[in-house]
Amino acid sequence: MSDGKSILVDTSRCTGCRGCQVACKQWNDLPGTRTKQAGTYQNPPDFSCDTYKIVRFAEGKKEGSREPYWYFFADMCRHCMNPPCMSASDKDEIVQDEATGAIVYTKETKNIDFETARSSCPYDVPRQNPDSKVLSKCTMCIDRMRSGLKPACVLSCPTAMEFGEREAILKLAEERVAELKKIWPKAKAIDADEVRVIFIVTDDPKKYHTHAQA
């Protein structure tokens, strides 16, 4: 068996265009929710049962300088190799797809404990539909992958995301990090051995998002 699929999100290349955020809604038929401008580009403010992918915007000043930084983190489920969230699943409410490795929440997740699932996820990904109680999150576009298509977010991305066989993506990540380290010594591929959706950052992951790293 192959090692399944992987997605690389290279934040050093991400322009925060939110093409991925919108493409995810389009493919998964998710509604645009009513939001308010709260003094940030980030909207919707967080994941929800209607939002599997959001671009998180983090800004601040570089250490000891007036120079600003602005980081974009196109957040989504990491499709962990050994997903902690599965501990909330007794039967097959949460399944791991054999061919791709995608972690898929079925409709039956309505029967499992949401808080257990959410709190077990190191990246704070799972959400619940308040009406149906079904848990939801990114599907890795398993329906597209099964038809030989790239995930919708990857397809829409002009600069930052790659999709492919896990070995190839791991290699790509390694090479890119080596290259980035020349300028940004803190560059790394976050939890690359544990997850299928690998984020490359050039600074402390916490500066991007509280749950960027496990």
């Binding site: 955020q21 919108v22 929710t33 308010k36």
Partner: protein, 804 residues
Amino acid sequence: MTNHWIDLQHSDVILIQGSNAAENHPISFKWVMRAKEKGGKVIHVDPRFTRTSAKADVYAPIRSGTDIAFVGGMIKYIIENKKYFEEYLLNYTNAPFIVGEKFSFKDGLFSGYDPGNRKYDKSSWALEKDENGIPKRDDTLKHPRCVLNMLYQHYKRYDLDKVSAITGTPKEKLLEVYELFASTGVKDRAGTVMYALGQTQSTIGVQKIRSLCIMQLLLGNIGICGGGVNALRGEPNVQGSTDHAILYHYLPGYMPVPRAGKQTVEEYIKAATPASKDPRSANWYANTPKYVVSLLKSWFGDVATPENGFGYSWLPKCDDGQNCDVLHMIDDMYAGKIKGYFCIGQNPCGSLPNSNKVRAAMTKLDWMVHVNIFDNESASFWKGPGLDPKKVKTECFLLPATANLEKDGSQATSGRWMQWLHRAVDNPGDCLSTGAIVTRLMHKIQEMYKKEGGAMPDGLLNMRMDYLTPDGKEFDALKVARRINGEFERDVKIGDKEYKKGQPVPGFGLLQADGSTSCGNWLCSGSFSLDGKNLMDRRGKEDPTGLGLYPNWSYCWPMNRRIVYNRASVDLQGRPYNPKRALLQWRDGKWVGDVADGPWPPMGMEGGKLPFIMKPDGVASLFGPGLGDGPFPEHYEPLESPLKRNLMSKQHNSPIITIFKSDKDKVASADPRYPLVLTTYSATEHWCSGAITRWQSWLTEAMPQVYVEISEELAKERGFKNGEWVTVESARGRIDAVAMVTPRLRPLTVDGKATHLVGMTYNYGWLHPKDSGDTCNLLTTFVGDGNAGTPEYKACMVNINRKA
């Protein structure tokens, strides 16, 4: 663009100035990031730290509207430090030419200024010619009045202290940018400029771009792979719409609009056709008569004959000196001089400056026909804020139009690639394409003219309007495209080749001035092959140069040339200056690579021609007398500025701009009531006034409501909290917005004083969603560029208070 999108990857240094490319042209960053991966550096010069700055290697803040000062300092730096590409300058620009003695520049004004008419007499802006009428030159570049030295005289005033005091950019940042970009003035490095509305939307916009051109010419960066001055056009077909003369002052293919002073086609042609005495100059525009006659033939067909001047006299004409740009149009509308208005695919009540004036102007109309895919704040202006529909006399019609995916047609990219697109879905309901609406309307008007008669009937009745599909309902875009390309109007023999009536003209080189060819736009001639193939429809992925030119993908005007002025990329013997990115080379008696700018051999060989074939002198103009406000760009302040005086000269604003005088045109410059500089823009998530995107819930979810970006320093000074509602006010209007407090903006030190900058988008409108807010254009000034009329959206003065 002189170059094209894919070519950006070849740049060693990319200067993004006056553009937020990552947000407003996201796909461009695919190529910018590739350039970075190959070791290229990206510089972003902008009032705000944006998503573009976040990806740049160097970010330099700048006060809105002061780019000429910024680039002027760069020009000084390049000349003083001899960073220019001398061989290129000597051979391919007018650097060694001698400027006439009558030309002068004093106190911010060039010679020939007439303050009464706010216009220049440009006769003194001339080059000295020898007895044969060829420009005199000094190849030692020692002559005090040679163009290079005159250029230096002009820009040595732009020293670091002064530039920094005007722009607010710290001196060390200026130097960092100058050094990095000037490093491309060598053979084997390329620097490119990406600009957009941050340059154009200014009273000195055209001159800002010219200053960038001068900089690029000094560095030898025009005509080369990875170089150029690249305008990022605002939507896929802005390039196409300008090529086809959507603006009032020219005809398709950038030929001047007919004016009352030119009553015959001969007079028009004479004035529009430049002459050159230099045998080495191709002076391409000497072909203007062929383009003019062929254009008239495309409009009038068989009725256009040599005897009736090919119908030229039937064309409507502007008065001499008349300005009909969009601001003059609205001003006339507000004054009650315009009765009826066709508004097609636009939302002027959100997108034009000083929206209160625009909205009031609409109430003066008897009727307005609006053509659009959705309702917007202009189509429904009569029920807008502060208006009582019962009291608005304007009768309004809204015609539903098809969107671009619902019709066939071509779209020209910023890189001049004309791509044929096929309709993807059917028109919903009874929507029609704009082409069908206009054509069917014209048929009706022609019918009424035939029946009832009317003023000046000839032009209307003789116009070929056979553009509908056989069922008479829709618009036959392919037929129009063929006519734009040009057709032989009769059987002709040109040289030893025969062409049949009705065949497409396979390139503008074959157009004729005797009426035997028609052509709706000479630039596009060649987009069909002789056997009728639509070359815009090509999707070949071959890349013979390896430089990403993709010559078999779509059609690129002119003549499928992917990088214009490409003969400037080779030396006098036709050898590429940069063999690693050989765009063109002369091999075995012919050009290999991109489609060369003309078939002639390299300059150093017999019969060689100069590379800038569109210029009468065959070389690029560092000294360029074509524009209305001077042969060298000069810094003037925006109409509303924080400064009482222009630090460069006594001339505060551009001397040639129209100052509108209606009661709605209040201006408050250097006024303590409005101490903050406002710059305006669009975000990634919306398109222009948001008239299309605000109906899309995924987009309004991402960017739901109007906001004003302000620095942490200003917020602290005024006690504003992030996310709270504030009121932004100018001398013309006010608007509520959410305060977005961010470290991405910062106060700049301008003329020794801390100056705050704030920013807003024009993406919102009162119509939908109801809580989204309104347009920032309620605040902006109603004034345009002296040459092009583009409104000065990028800089005006405001104040902000906590929302009452």
